[in-house]
């Protein structure tokens, strides 16, 4: 059997040794304890002795230095055996038993978190980046250990949203996505990513509603009438007046109508958007709605709004009437965490069938966005029907 002979570790801090002289010929038969070589360590020279009896192959040149435990020769029972021996066979530490598996890193500390809670795992860095980018982590499936959401998951989500190729050409303006623009950007993106929102569009005949409005003692805006319509429809489908919170949907008794109000932007080419809140619309008369709405819009446009004016909406009204083209159909984005948003636009005159006649009527285009996580198709349709009915038979709008 061929046995490896390794550079012995003769001294405490000996890391390498030099064979300054072999004391036996290559291939010679060596007795046990016969002087084999002179080995120099960093400090002292020693005459090392043969640990075996057998034929010896020298594998190191005189004067060469190797680390301790490196193979420097072979013992064999015959010269033939020696001839076949190669260094590769002895790359491990001799005839030891298997090395036990490398232990887990922090040794006797657990290497996996015990699951003390069912919370979604999100790394701190990922959470921070998600917040900054307006990404809702709860929508993400983490690819880290134990399903943890990690940075690459946020990056993946972002990349799929970005168009990274910018056009060439002279730049007119550079609008940073900070401040109000940044908030809008973040909220809109988050809203789309987080929910399961869809929009349904229809037109309601408001010819009678407009006639009714003109006959009122005071000037009431169409928006106020729409707020009133919302209140009535919500009575039919309360789920339309709700918000998401964590893993629950909170339905509210009070109907706080968020009103999207365009304001001046932070810079020349930009505009701004604020959502004022008209609280407790269910308890207001049409006139009260109108008065408060006007005051709210004024306050917001004059930067005199206080925090109560800007938070707490349970449903939102976002109108482009008078601004967009007639009959505009759109897909407005929900005002998170609301479940529903009503987006009317510029009325349009169309020929419609009344009875068996074709007449010209004024139609109000309506876009209703709702989150299917809370409001299913059937109740949504009922809600829209209720809204449509009260708009087309507007007497109900008056208290």
């Amino acid at each position: 059997m061929v046995k490896a002979y390794r550079m012995p570790k003769l001294a405490m801090a000996m890391n390498e040794g030099t064979v300054t002289e072999w004391l036996v010929e290559d291939g010679a038969f060596v007795e046990l304890a016969q002087p084999l070589a002179t080995v120099e360590t960093e400090k002292v020279a020693y005459e090392v002795e043969s640990p075996e009896a057998g034929y010896f192959r020298r594998m190191l040149e005189e004067g060469d230095t190797v680390d301790c435990d490196v193979v420097i020769g072979f013992f064999g029972d015959s010269l033939e055996e020696l001839g076949e021996a190669t260094l590769d066979e002895f790359s491990d530490l001799g005839d030891q038993s298997d090395t036990p598996e490398a232990i887990d890193t922090a040794s006797d500390s657990p290497t996996h978190e015990k699951n003390f809670s069912e919370r979604q795992k999100v790394s701190p860095a990922a959470r921070k980046k998600a917040t900054q980018s307006g990404i809702n982590v709860s929508t993400l499936q983490g690819t880290g250990p134990d399903g943890r959401v990690v940075l690459r998951d946020i990056e993946t989500a972002l990349v799929s949203l970005q168009d990274l190729s910018l056009p060439a050409g002279t730049v007119l303006a550079r609008v940073p996505m900070t401040g109000m623009r940044g908030q809008i950007a973040g909220r809109m993106q988050q809203s789309l990513l987080a929910g399961a929102q869809l929009t349904a569009n229809w037109e309601s005949d408001i010819t009678e509603l407009l006639a009714l409005k003109d006959n009122l003692p005071t000037r009431i805006s169409v928006n106020s009438l729409l707020v009133r319509a919302l209140v009535l429809a919500i009575r039919e489908v309360p789920m339309a007046n709700a918000c998401f919170e964590g893993d629950s949907i909170i339905l509210y008794e009070s109907i706080n109508v968020g009103i999207a109000i365009s304001v001046e932007g932070d810079s020349t080419y930009d505009t701004g958007l604020k959502v004022g809140v008209l609280p407790n619309a269910e308890s207001l008369t049409l006139v009260e709605i109108d008065v408060q709405l006007k005051a709210l819009i004024d306050r917001i446009r004059n930067n005199a709004a206080d925090s109560k004016d800007l938070v707490g909406s349970t449903v939102t009204l976002s109108s482009t009437a008078g601004i967009g083209p007639p009959g505009l159909m759109s897909t407005p984005i929900l005002n998170s965490p609301n479940v529903a948003l009503l987006g009317p636009s510029t009325p349009v005159k169309r020929p419609v069938v009344v009875g068996d006649d074709i007449v010209v009527r004024t139609l109000l285009p309506l876009s209703f966005t709702f989150d299917h996580r809370a409001l299913d198709g059937e109740p949504a349709a009922r809600f829209m029907r209720a809204l449509h009915d009260v708009l087309e038979s507007p007497a109900g709008l008056l208290d």
Binding site: T99, T105, S109, S123, G144
Partner: protein, 323 residues
């Protein structure tokens, strides 16, 4: 101009040069004249037995020479031979030393250096293999550093000798013969204590490692070059500890593996991990992992090889933190 010398010779050069430059510097230890380890070789021949002092096997008395002399304005280098031997006179080296300047109203400095050989790899079991940097880092008033290369060794030992505070600067026996470039003696350079060094740049994970473990970490980083980009940082000092370099690295990589050849329980790696959590929480994309000695006395025989931190364990930790 520079040349290649060994780690231990770099320390010898630092000591010899400082002794030449400043008469108040002296070495006290056991068998330092005969140089049981090469870093005190050729000193007594140059500077005489009054400045290279051998004492009886009396650690308290031996350290007393250093401590008292330092109070009297001299600059001793007290050599304990093996790090574990500091425990023989532990109250002096830790409590009395650490508190001297502070408790007494910062009236006087205590300029002394404590050094000793430490580290696994010699198959000598606990007494001769244990590390001491973690324990000394725990006691306030003492600076603690460990060099990992010949260049750092010379610069840091010089800085330690010139420092007006007690500095514990052990050296790892496993890198005693490590060769590296060191400037010519004509160039007097220092490596300031309290500064870490990025020994290898990378982008996906930061590995903090020192002395022998630094060499292991560099080896692993090179082996992983086509898979994971590993940044390797040598803290060089434990007290004061360069947190800025570490946090800047984490801002880039978001992942940290700390390799520390010391016990898991209460070792310096735990301190760094806690500080990173406090100061760099949002930088972390994964928990900080430590590769340490398990909580057992360092065993002898052939067990060190797989019990102590080694390249396999470092690689496993890197992969785990990047999962």
């Amino acid at each position: 101009m520079s040349r290649i010398i060994t780690f231990i010779d770099a320390i010898q050069e630092a000591i010899a040069e400082e002794m030449r430059a400043d008469e108040s510097v002296f070495v006290v230890g056991q068998d330092v004249r005969g140089a049981i380890f090469p870093h005190t070789a050729n000193l007594v021949e140059q500077f005489g037995p009054d400045r290279v002092v051998d004492t009886p096997i009396a650690e308290s008395g031996m350290y007393g020479v250093a401590f008292g002399a330092a109070q009297e304005g001299m600059r001793p280098i007290c050599d304990f031979m093996f790090g574990g031997f500091t425990y023989v006179t532990f109250s002096e080296v830790s409590v009395t030393t650490g508190q001297y300047h502070f408790l007494h109203g910062s009236q006087k400095p205590l300029p002394l250096v404590i050094t000793a050989g430490v580290g696994t790899g010699q198959r000598l079991a606990n007494d001769h293999a244990m590390s001491i940097h973690g324990t000394f880092a725990h006691h306030p008033g003492i600076k603690v550093a460990m060099p990992s290369t010949p260049y750092d060794a010379k610069g840091m030992f010089k800085a330690a000798i010139r420092d007006n505070n007690p500095v514990v600067i052990p050296w790892h026996m496993g890198i005693m013969m490590l060769k590296g470039e060191v400037p010519d003696p004509s160039e007097d350079y220092l490596v300031p204590l309290g500064s870490a060094d990025v020994k290898r740049e990378g982008s996906e994970v930061t590995v903090l490692a020192n002395s022998l473990q630094l060499q292991h970490a560099l080896k692993v980083a090179e082996a992983l070059v086509s898979e994971i980009s590993v940044e390797v940082i040598d803290p060089r000092s434990f007290v004061p500890f360069d947190m800025d370099t570490l946090l800047a690295s984490l801002a880039k990589t978001n992942r940290l593996v700390i390799v520390d050849e010391d016990w898991e329980s209460g070792g310096f790696a735990a301190t760094v991990s806690a500080r990173v959590m406090e100061q760099g929480f949002d930088l972390l994309d994964a928990p900080v992992l430590r590769v340490t000695l398990p909580n057992m006395p360092v065993p002898g025989g052939y067990m060190e090889e797989y019990v102590a931190p080694n390249p396999e364990r470092i690689e496993a930790a890197i992969r785990q933190v990047c999962a």
